[in-house]
Symmetry: C2
Subunit: 107 residues, 2 copies
DNA sequence: AAATATACCTCGTCTGTCAAGGTATATTTG
DNA sequence: CAAATATACCTTGACAGACGAGGTATATTT
């Protein structure tokens, strides 16, 4: 990874929610998709991912269900809730503001 | 403060270096200036500020000297070094990349 | 005399990240 | 066919930056 994790810190939940807005998905897939979207520049570590899932579920922003795979490893799917959608809007707003602020402070 | 600290996390050092590029300054003043620059949206907490100073000095990115105040409280001034200037360029580059990445991931 | 502003600092806690470890199934490779 | 790799889940403990809470000292304002 080229970007230090402290700069990405705090964005994990928003990134996951954004992904789930497109479609329900499961941990392994989300991880792969994020790497792909960033041309492998950013790999969300598994431990980070799963602890974020716990927080998001705790907050009521996502709900989970088991896939009905008949072959292969079982998959735990995640879906975004209405509250999660609202929270995502907040995260995005916050990001816009933070971005402007940091841009203002770094010149 | 309206922006959560986790989003700002990791930018503290870059923000301080950016400020010192303009001119030497001291803790209390830097803090005030940053609040002013962001219209009071972001207050770098003192404990955060001073621990960042320690790291920056440790890394050789800043050097310090005492002001020669004849009245009022003493001031410890900070100045950016050549290494600090280089480091700042790196931080800035990293920020540009991270910004693009997060923008790509949040839609 | 008390409150506020300027100016410095430390200690201990909190929280998100992640390295390292684990389990289980299916497929590919030598 | 055994070993390696890929898919898929998970937990534990350590680390580091942010910061609340506390402290010291001087000068000015109320």
């Amino acid at each position: 990874m080229s970007i230090t994790s402290d700069i990405l810190r705090g964005h994990t939940e928003a990134i996951i929610l954004s992904h789930l807005l497109e479609q329900d998905s499961y941990g392994y897939q989300i991880n792969k998709d994020i790497m792909k979207k960033t041309d492998n520049a950013y790999e969300l570590k598994e431990a980070t991912l799963y602890s974020a899932f716990r927080r998001l579920e705790q907050a009521g922003y996502i709900r989970t269900y088991w896939g009905d795979e008949t072959v292969g490893a079982r998959r735990r799917y995640y879906a975004i809730t209405d509250e999660g959608t609202k929270a995502y809007q907040g995260y995005k707003q916050e990001w816009q503001e933070a971005k402007d602020m940091i841009d203002k402070l770094l010149r």
